[in-house]
Symmetry: C2
């Protein structure tokens, strides 16, 4: 048994003060056949006004693609969940009488079992006492993580450009942040090492990262970078929060050669699993990684279902917090998602994820093809993403003919002009500066700008949300705006 390191010294005041409910001591008698239990305020399931729920979904292996509407019974899988489970029913089902009742803050065992098996399939976690508990999505999970580790006024590490909502979660809690420089491939470990070596004040307890298909940059950390970052976490005793909603939107590599596309298609489940980048979890000999996983990008955001993977002592504190805040995920979500996953099975779920990979690869290709075709590549730089929903196009603001004059050598003014020009042409991409983590560490640590990057600006686009023809049209329009703004002639 390889045990995780004890990291309880990193808990926040809030986490340390939390007590389990005194009523828990009574609940050990809840199912005791010798005791009539009049202790719990649970409504009878007889009064839940749902007797049966049926859900129709595509059946594995999704031969016509995951987006195809099932046309035959063979292509359809029907999940039927009853209020009260019959004796002869599947063992892996969560009946409505159970899912719609109170309880199960950690999650229902049937769904947790599925997720644990799945986790073992994907990540080789090097220590034994890890576990999984459910969340209501990574946004809630991140809020709960902050409350469990960071006191007001303390500082966390974040990526230089990061998901603004995640930063706002921290800001609201009075948590300060410090940005780590990134390049096309995410966090630069050498920069992180330098920052930590020169750190002033108490060391940060957390690094928040979206390592795969990062939002907003679309970058993905290589296994080598992850190893280097993990080593720094060990040296400087911090916890890595890997927020991984896009992990299964890893794609085939982009190639200019259209005829060669599809050659990286995975042939088997094993090939698919091996194609996935090494997670921080897989490197986690200490138990200092908390992985935030979610169905939002692989099944549906509205499921509001995610899960932490972490060492048990950390999950215990998170459970205490969930008990007095979000309690648990929706029972409808639990019954329906669990019903579908167990009908698909582990293999069917992998088929689904392979289907996603194929869809996103194609969308990404269409987007990058359009950027190549329609953008002024003398001043613009693209970096085809290998994962996620986002791509970025970088511009050199200093190459704008009016940079020093009209825009007073301020790259943000060029950024805004490009944004407005895009809108005027009928296309919207998000300016990269909107995701910029300013940094307000306490006491102040110096934020260094990597020389040569001062005048680089970028825009975030997505290929996820729109049909392919619109995607191409939108990029054509934005490209035309960029040509116009830079005073360049468009060849086409």
């Amino acid at each position: 048994m390889v045990e995780a390191k004890n990291l309880t010294h990193l808990f926040s005041d809030e986490a340390n003060v939390r007590q389990p409910s005194p009523l828990k001591t009574a609940f050990k008698y809840y199912k005791d056949p010798n005791i009539v239990f009049l202790g719990g305020g649970l409504p009878l399931a007889d009064y839940f006004p749902w007797n049966k729920i049926t859900a129709e979904s595509p059946a594995a292996p999704f031969a016509r693609g995951i987006g195809a509407v099932p046309e035959t019974a063979e292509e359809t899988v029907v999940t039927e969940i009853l209020k009260v489970q019959e004796h002869n029913e599947r063992k892996d089902e969560v009946s409505l009488a159970r899912s719609l009742q109170y309880g199960f803050t950690e999650g229902h065992p049937e769904l947790l079992d599925f997720l644990k098996t799945h986790t073992k399939l994907i990540h080789k976690i090097p220590y034994d006492d890890w576990d999984i508990i459910q969340t209501t999505g990574n946004t809630q999970a991140w809020d709960s993580i902050l409350r469990t580790f960071v006191n007001k006024g303390e500082t966390i590490l974040v990526e230089e450009f990061t998901f603004s909502s995640a930063l706002e979660t921290a800001n609201g809690l009075g948590v300060n942040h410090f940005p780590i420089p990134m390049d096309d491939f995410g966090i630069v470990p050498e920069k992180l090492a330098e920052i930590l070596a020169n750190w002033v004040g108490p060391k940060p307890k957390l690094l928040y990262t979206v390592p795969t298909g990062q939002n907003p940059t679309g970058s993905s950390l290589s296994a080598e970078r992850r190893k280097a970052i993990y080593k720094l976490a060990q040296e400087h005793d911090f916890i890595i929060i890997e927020d991984e909603p896009y992990y299964f939107l890893q794609m085939e590599k982009y190639t200019d050669d259209v005829s060669a596309r599809g050659e990286q298609k995975v042939g088997s489940h094993q090939e698919f699993i091996e194609s996935l980048v090494t997670s921080f979890l897989t490197l986690d000999v200490d138990g200092r990684v908390i992985r935030l996983d979610s169905f939002s990008k692989v099944l549906a955001p509205g499921a509001r279902f995610g899960w932490y993977v972490a060492q048990k002592s950390i999950l215990e504190r998170l459970t205490r917090l969930h008990e007095v805040s979000v309690q648990t995920a929706s029972g409808f979500t639990t019954s329906i998602v669990n019903g579908l996953l167990n009908r698909w099975g582990q293999d069917g779920y992998i088929d689904w994820l392979i289907g996603l990979r194929s869809e996103y690869t194609h969308k990404r290709d269409v987007a990058i093809d359009a950027v190549k075709k329609y953008f002024p590549l003398d001043v613009a730089h693209y970096n085809p993403p290998v994962a996620g929903m986002f791509f970025t196009v970088q511009f050199d603001a200093s190459k704008h003919p009016e940079f020093a004059t009209k825009y007073e050598s301020d790259p943000l003014k060029v950024e805004n002009a490009l944004y407005e020009q895009g809108l005027a042409q009928g296309s919207l991409l998000i300016p990269g500066s909107w995701f910029k983590a300013g940094g307000n560490s306490n006491p102040p640590n110096k934020v260094e700008v990597v020389p040569g990057t001062e005048n680089l600006i970028f825009f975030r686009g997505t290929y996820a949300a729109v049909p392919l023809d619109e995607l191409t049209e939108g990029l054509k329009r934005f490209g035309a705006g960029a040509y116009k703004e830079y005073g360049l002639e468009q060849a086409i």
Copy 2:
């Protein structure tokens, strides 16, 4: 237009610091037909693996009772929700493509509309700029309320005996509390007035109360007491959080006369509505009440769906917090609950609530009948609840023959002996002291014990969770234990 008072001076540091996401400014172009919007990281609904969800529920008016399993098509209402709504479909439906997508932190308009109409039917709110936003249940709502109003180290007012989980939510946040004395009928307004008049330190910003069918005491505040408490809220400028999960578990009055039971059955919807106790919301001329409503006790806890009713400026701050924490309720919950409610209609929902009233009245009657029959009423006192899931039986510890000797005049020792004796007899009720709010206001305010109540202890039972025969058996056993513990002879 009657406007709510501006109460923004009561916001916490956390609420004051929250910013809306900068991406919101871009989202105004989201549905603009002239703009190709490449700004949002939303997955396509094509990839949501649910094409249709069907739910079977009892149909109004529930002639055979709300717990009866529908046997005919007439007794069944079928909610069928498609991924993409057809043009000819009902206007009040939330399709899966919408409910399972991101967005709608406030809630989907279709369901909010239903709830607003319902709220107007039940509460006459005296000011105009109130609104409703969804929560994921009252536990989450309470956590968000605390974060929005109370800074660490500040003090809130709570009922002397209160829902321990609600207290633990506050404790974790470093929020102190001060208990308000209660009697059989809830908070004693005169005591509250006295406490506030003599208050040392900054006045509390919040009073947390479960006014109807209180947990744990089962007490309900009369309209008169609510008026007096509301007046104090105005005088001392605090906000009333009315946590009302049990509001629709209001019952007919208990009567010893079995033949007279059922005479208070409501004959019409209007009669039902008039039978409900005046809510704090109905008295709220200032907009200083935040009502926490929930489906947990009227439909199912696992729906994880509730809502705030409050003035808009308060809901705006709560929305900012929800955006970076819970985000939104489950889309499955939204589509399914909304589908059912709109098929039932407002009238059908009232039928359901009337059905609940009837079920709970009967359960309560069975419980109180058993207490009367099996408990040593020389030392025990019961107070039939008029609402909720809970009843209490009070004991005078000083009447225990060994109070001064074996139990060293400590009422809690008698309480524990009764609890253990109950368990030995095969029945569990929860000791009242487990719900006792100790009080840790900062700076300290003196907690007074009402003279004559020092030696009173009580147990909380529920009639909600068990079938009627078990309920009677459990109370018979506990009563026998009490007779034994007090050394009294049982007549039966």
